[in-house]
Symmetry: C2
Subunit: 213 residues, 2 copies
Amino acid sequence: MKLYSYFRSSAAYRVRIALNLKGIAADYVPVHLVKPEPLPAYRDAVNPQGLVPAIEAGEDGLIAQSLAIIEYLEEKQPEPPLLPSGLAERAYVRSAALLVACDIHPLANLRVLRYLKRELGQEQATIDAWYRHWVEDGLARLEAFVAGSGRSGAFLHGDAPTMADCCLVPQLFNARRLACDLSGFPTLVEIDARCARLEAFQRAHPDVQPDAE
Amino acid sequence: MKLYSYFRSSAAYRVRIALNLKGIAADYVPVHLVKPEPLPAYRDAVNPQGLVPAIEAGEDGLIAQSLAIIEYLEEKQPEPPLLPSGLAERAYVRSAALLVACDIHPLANLRVLRYLKRELGQEQATIDAWYRHWVEDGLARLEAFVAGSGRSGAFLHGDAPTMADCCLVPQLFNARRLACDLSGFPTLVEIDARCARLEAFQRAHPDVQPDAE
């Protein structure tokens, strides 16, 4: 298996965690998202969606979109599970993962911040405020959702990491990089700290990837 | 079952299609997204994530996030399927759905356009250009992904509608409302037209919802 990744991509970080939790080895293929050349070449030759992550999964071919990849890994190799077994519990985990993937991350990623700067000519302070607005707003929703669910434990669901934790940890890593105020999210911060003690999360961290700068 | 919806919400529209395709009846509960009062009350009393859609699914409780709802419906009532059976095919369908749900829609929804207007003081023409930029960019990726996949047929996957078509049709409805140029996406436009002939899609259309204006 190959993993197309960029060390700082939040979505690629999710998949790195999932691969490590499953114990699946993948060859790391870096795609530099900041330099101008690599992305168009990758889009033409590898992934028409043109974003990372993607995996090359043998006879199953190329799979793009972090949550589609994680669902694929779950179906391909069910153990250890990244989704619980009950229908309501599975919906809860997917809902938490999608809150990060649909309501927070898309508004705070590199291509959007660049558009604000280049096309709309916004100052860095305005861009930073944009970032913090959407990340803090989304994390407040996630904190309320998790804390009110009665389903969290050591991790977002119960006492083993799931697809939802694969999304939470990269989002909090990014939030800290841009100095978001996390004081209102004690449940999320505590779960994130517990994840950080696991080797699967440590080996997925941006700082230890082959293309880390 | 109850469906919390807003007639014009693209994400709620996805779930309305899925419910109709499955033949599952749901009581329609409108949540007005434009007036100032309903959303905070809904967030406090019903859904801590604070967005539509959500379903109230009997003993399985409240489920938020359109794609988590559709996955839940698929697991609860597998027929007719909204995901194909093969692992690679399932990944393809989820990947197309997530491209819409993560890479297009979040940048073009009401709360984001409002922030551009109110907090960043942007002119309507700039906001329209923002909308069209992200929607047309994302649809170009989706067109290339689908057309190059060898997996599309009458619908995005083969000859029966899936979760991916549930996402495509609302996105194209919205794109037309804001006068996006769809001429570069012949595969998507053709599939959308085919969906529009099915009663399940017709009954989910914004114009025929109880809260349509």
